[in-house]
């Protein structure tokens, strides 16, 4: 799966997993912060993203410092998945 396709897939999964019903995939800027000003996600959302990574991409994140970098933006998340997921080739 190429990067663009993965980013698009993540947008859909994010909306579904985090119940972001007011947001459409095309409204998510992959370079914008996921937390704080960007999508305004909270700490529970962060936990849901960890679950998503493990369940859908076979990646376990146990170090919170690592999570902070991985979930900075949708793009950093996609890059991390591409580099670490056995499910993505």
């Amino acid at each position: 799966m190429n990067m663009d396709a993965l980013v698009e897939e993540l947008k859909v999964k994010l909306i579904e997993q985090l119940n972001l019903e007011d947001i459409k995939p095309e409204e998510i800027n992959p370079s914008e912060p996921l937390f704080g000003d960007g999508l305004g996600l909270d700490s529970i959302d962060a936990l849901e993203l960890i679950v998503l990574l493990e369940r859908d991409y076979g990646i376990k994140i146990s170090d919170p410092k690592e999570g902070r970098k991985v979930f900075a933006t949708l793009l950093t998340m996609a890059e991390y998945i591409r580099a670490n997921s056995p499910a993505i080739s």
Binding site: L18, N19, L20, E21, D22, I23, G40, I44, D45, L47, E48, V51, E54, R55
Partner: protein, 199 residues
Amino acid sequence: MYILNHCRISKGIISDSDGIVFDSQGNNLAYFLKEFYKFDKIIYPKFYKMDEQCKLAFIASEVLFRNFRRDDYADEELAMIFANSDSTLTTDMSFWDSTFAIASPGLFVYTLPNIMLGEIAIRNKIKGENIFFISREYDPKLLYNQTELVFQNTNTKIAIVGWVNYENDTSYLAKLFLVSKSDEAKNIFSLENLINLNN
């Protein structure tokens, strides 16, 4: 103690002190509350993350606060006194099911009934007294006495008092009162108001 407003949500109907606010009989609760959320032009994306019981409490509080002069009171002067019989049983069971795969943190946060108080408090910046009673049998006297106590022993001026219980999409009830300690309104808050949940 005076009633500034009340809200009742049951069987697809939302009503307040002035009568029926929204009627969506025949639709399940999730659909019905979402329709009201859009109808009332509420903008609070966290609503979508809540479980059904929390949505029920949240919408009831939104209706209660519609014409309330919130800015007249300090954050610490508002209290919440709630009760129900099912606690968060439906979400507890959903969460239990999720633990067989990977437990959902998003579900877990709704496995305590006082999350309803938390969500309402965050939305309305309420920092006063709060308590949530869970009992098999509805005990209106307990709710009433607790309201009196809170008004007598704290600096509370306004209290949200009542019942929010969700069993399933067709069996649910929210009945909340917005009660003022001293702002005179036409209806006095009494035990009678709490005794009958069905009107």
